[in-house]
Amino acid sequence: MAAASVAIEAATEVLMPGSEDEAIAAFGDGAEVVVVGGGTIVVPDLTYRRLQPRKALMLGRAGMSGIEKNGSRVTIGATTPVQELVDLPAPLGPCAANVADLEIRSQGTAGGNICAGEGYEAPRGDLQGALIALGATARSAANGDVTEEPLEDFLPKRRERLLLSVSFEEPAAGAFAGLDRPHTHDYTALAVSGARSVDGTLRLAATGTGSWGVRLPSAEAAAGDPAAAGKAALNDVTPHDDALASAWYRSKVLPVLVRRVLDELKESA
């Protein structure tokens, strides 16, 4: 095991920016850079040599952590520990509480969770669905250029840009329903998040139906009838087989989770 760490020493240049601006500069165009937030995903990959990056950009001292509220706008810095999200309202709070265990939630960062690669056995990125349901935007950088865009547009290029923060308007109501995990350390097999904004817009999104979280527009269109909306959600996803669940099981459970979220949102109306 110690020998693995010696390999880290030999191969990787470590960058430790002291501010967000320094982090943006150090990231550059992102080529050959592995970003390290809390380390919960990257460090084991280094230990077991699944990753041997030329450069590692460690964000721990870049001052990018914290939750800010500006009126009704909530902004979450990329290196905010997942544990700091668990007391936020649904869907994000209960979604964050469903990630791993206390120690890993306290180390792992929101940005790392959002930007994680697809994983070896199952998709990662538990928080993506909840943030899509909230209509969150992502602020990110590459080549020194900082842009803000809907999280859904950011996710496909999340390995090419440095995520700085996500933000969203506090919803009028929210709900989260996920499959129970066989063990605290399993990634989310399937979860549905819903949020109703102050102007009445309803958004639904799923995590665990593909490479990253997706919005469920067909289910939203049928939201007046939760059972029909659950079935309609199957038009918005392509369930897959992986180590956590089969495509068949996911397609049976997704309508149930959609219905539960809509029922809970109705009760809070």
């Binding site: 095991m1 380390g39 460090v43 077991y48 460690m58 120690e103 890993i104 605290t184």
Partner: protein, 171 residues
């Protein structure tokens, strides 16, 4: 980088990305944190970093720079066990013992933040330490006892009813 481990200050010269666990075990010879899975799954490497439980196998040592680290060696000594260690002995909460040091540190942090003897809260606090054996009822009992501040006479534990059970056939 500077680490204070169980009250002793160390200067370490590793790579920033090296897991804290490897620095503790290989460089400083502190072997209480166990290298079980080396990927965050078993909890056996858990230490306290500034009083908070952390997986030392997942933490780049740079993130612990300047921190106070407590390992099981810092809880108590064999002749002077801490309350949580006494509770584990009294309640027979160690099974093979490999994950016990990490569990006791997570339990210590739980008690330090005001945790009660309520079983569900204890199970949540120790959720990341449940890997594969079966002795969890005893562990939850031990943590509950320590959370209540129970006191134990360990000399009685050592020659208590369980010893009688194992020698009962010869009497």
């Amino acid at each position: 980088m500077n680490l204070t481990v169980n009250g002793i200050a160390h200067e370490v010269n590793g790579v920033e990305l090296m897991p804290l666990l490897d620095v503790l075990r290989e460089e400083l010879g502190v072997r209480g944190p166990k290298a079980g899975c080396h990927q965050g799954g078993c909890g056996a490497c858990t230490v306290l970093v500034d009083g908070e439980p952390r997986r030392s196998c997942l933490m780049p040592v740079a993130h612990a720079d300047g921190a106070e680290i407590t390992t099981v060696e810092g809880l108590g000594a064999p002749e002077d066990l801490s309350p949580i260690q006494q509770a584990f002995v009294h309640h027979y909460a160690a099974q093979c013992g490999f994950c016990t040091s990490g569990m006791m540190l997570a339990a210590q942090a739980y008690i330090d933040r005001g945790g009660t003897d309520e079983p569900e809260a204890i199970q949540n606090a120790l959720a990341g330490h449940v890997c594969r054996c079966t002795g969890y009822a005893k562990i939850v009992e031990a943590v509950a006892a320590a959370a209540r501040g129970d006191e134990f006479d360990l000399s009685e534990t050592a020659v208590g009813k369980y010893t009688t059970m194992t020698t009962g056939g010869a009497e």
